[in-house]
């Protein structure tokens, strides 16, 4: 196993994101099992004050020259390659997130190391690391062994505990000078989320619809249930991409993260990208025609059946109950 394990800490708009703590927790466990040290790398103008939050690392390397804010993937991969040489690191953990998209693949090519994507579990084993990847929308897992413990591993958000990567101590912080090549990609501005008529992150009840709702007209059936429950309708990516509901209603990786009291997953298979955005709902009720849909593995209650038959019946029963 490598002497040093690196974690590319992630921040967005001056906030350390949960994936960073998930990676630190996973990295801490691997470091302890293999006698390695855990080193976090944080890039960006606001990196220095944020570094203090990364106490689970043995050391935090900080590059806070402004060009690092949302720097292109190849520049960040180049910086990580330089840090790997300085620290003699052989294992790098990155987030399998939109923010970090492409960095891992580029780093793997630069260093000649293998990359393991969509990783949801990792354990040290006989001098190496065995990673479990979730593939095909979470329907299949593959175990991959990095025999010498060296590689680039992209960690899937929500798969590791956040708390395991939090410590109340301040880590040693070291500033590093990293080369920034003249970028061919430059960040211009943030485009704020579209504010819709409804803020789905503030609802007690959400009626989520996916591909299984079949047509735009059928969304109305979900709308009726949401109305009688005083909640709102939201959706997984395919429904939003069809233009059946506005972007402000998207739940998942690129969309909103929601935690309502009750979340209906109607005709939603439960692909990891969607699960990421609603897994912490208090009560998840899934309805799907596919009895083997992954959503049933995480939901509290499940119904194998046709959403279009169940919705009108349920709306009527709720109305009756409410009087």
């Amino acid at each position: 196993m490598a002497n040093t394990i690196l974690v590319l800490a992630e921040q967005l708009r001056g906030e350390v994101t949960d994936i960073t703590f998930e990676m630190l927790g996973a990295g801490r466990k691997l470091a302890e099992a293999s006698g390695s040290s855990l080193c976090a790398v944080l890039l960006g103008a606001e990196a220095a004050p944020l570094a203090a939050k990364l106490g689970a690392a043995d050391k935090v390397l900080v590059a806070d020259d402004a060009p690092w804010d949302l720097a292109p993937a190849d520049a960040v991969a180049g910086a990580l390659e330089a840090v790997m040489q300085q620290t003699q690191a052989g294992l790098v953990l990155l987030g399998c997130t939109n923010v970090a998209a492409g960095i891992g693949s580029m780093l793997a090519v630069k260093t000649g190391l293998p990359l393991v994507n969509f990783c949801r579990a990792a354990k040290a084993e006989g001098g190496g690391v065995v990673c479990t990847s979730q593939l095909f929308g979470g329907k299949i897992y593959s175990d991959v062994k990095l025999a010498d413990g060296k590689g680039v591993v992209c960690i899937y958000p929500g798969a590791f505990p956040v708390d395991a990567g939090k410590r109340d101590q301040a880590p040693p912080i070291e500033k590093v000078d990293l080369p920034v090549a003249a970028p061919k990609v430059t960040f211009k501005q943030y485009l704020e989320p579209e504010t819709g008529d409804v803020d789905i992150t503030k609802q007690n009840v959400l009626v989520g619809v996916g591909r299984g709702i079949q047509t735009q007209d059928n969304v109305e059936l979900a709308e009726e249930l949401a109305q009688v429950l005083g909640g709102a309708v939201c959706a997984s990516r395919p429904v939003i991409d069809q233009g059946w509901l506005p972007l402000s209603r998207q739940v998942g990786k690129s969309g909103m993260t929601v935690k309502p009291r009750v979340y209906f997953a109607l005709g939603i298979s439960g692909a990891p990208e969607h699960w990421e955005g609603m897994q912490n709902s208090q009560c998840i009720i899934a309805v799907n025609t596919d009895a083997k849909a992954p959503i049933f593995d995480g939901a509290h209650y499940g119904v194998v059946g046709d959403v279009l038959e169940l919705l009108p019946a349920l709306t009527e029963k709720v109305k009756a109950k409410k009087g």
Partner: protein, 258 residues
């Protein structure tokens, strides 16, 4: 504009997926294939760019089951040229696939004309070794942005939108030519009637371009592939829609949702 769209076939996850006897690959017997979702958006984005700015759309695939239908559908939708590289996709990891596709693009023109955009989907559901777009960008030494949901080209550059999280997006300026991993097009992918696809099958042609096969098909050795054993499972409710609805009302009351 000179637009290349890279299309990849993936197993349709609506069907049941089973692991083959080798314990590592998918059982191909009942496997049905479909075009990777983000690739469908990449094609739509290319067609929209062509309609607005003129140019030529070339769709490129490796060899895979049902891929001819996808190529003819792309032609029926408005692509100008369909290319199939006779290398079996099933045996390749993303790293080797990127190498094959990069070889093809280099043979097209080196360097690529300045109004070129190479558009793979942002990711695929079987990207165990990493995503195609950044690997291709590295091989072609071109700038890259991933998770792209909008492109506005201008002279020698493009303004692109990238998705972050929580609905937040960022705007980036990219020098062209570039590789952009497309997450979603400006509009939903267009529908094309079957009759038009059949017409394309009669009138259009799929070009086969020979490329050298990669020396190392996969970077990663799989230990085993399996169906996940869920830590838990939902309590299943059975009965007629009315009976199920009654139970759900009780659950809603219990969770203070009514």
């Amino acid at each position: 504009m000179n637009l290349y769209v890279l299309l990849k076939m993936v197993p349709d996850t609506v069907e049941e997926l089973n692991v083959a006897a080798d314990g590592k690959s998918l059982d191909s017997e009942f496997l049905r294939f479909k075009l990777n979702d983000p690739d469908e958006h990449a094609l739509e984005q290319a067609l929209l760019l062509k309609e607005k700015h003129g140019g030529k759309v070339t769709v490129v695939t490796l060899d895979a089951p049902e891929v001819d239908d996808v190529l003819f559908t792309a032609l029926a939708k408005g692509a100008d040229r369909a290319v199939k590289l006779p290398v079996n996709q099933a045996e390749l990891g993303t790293v080797a696939a990127a190498r094959v596709l990069a070889d093809f693009l280099k043979a097209e023109a080196t360097p690529l004309p300045p109004d070129t955009l190479v558009l793979p989907g942002s990711y695929a559901i079987d990207d165990l070794e990493g995503e195609l777009a950044p690997l291709l960008a590295t091989a072609l030494e071109l700038p890259y942005v991933g998770v792209v949901c909008g492109i506005a080209p201008a002279e020698g550059k493009a303004t692109v939108r990238k998705e972050f999280a929580g609905g937040l997006r960022g705007e980036f300026e990219v020098a062209l030519p570039a590789v952009l991993g497309i997450q979603s097009a400006d509009k939903p992918p267009r529908y094309v009637p079957v009759a038009k696809v059949r017409a394309a099958m009669k009138s259009a042609r799929i070009e086969t371009v020979d490329v050298p096969p990669p020396d190392r098909p996969r970077q990663l050795e799989l230990e085993r592939t399996y169906k996940p054993e869920a830590a838990g499972h939902a309590e299943m409710l059975e009965g007629s829609p009315e009976e199920v609805a009654d139970r759900l009302v009780e659950i809603l009351v219990k969770n203070s949702a009514i």
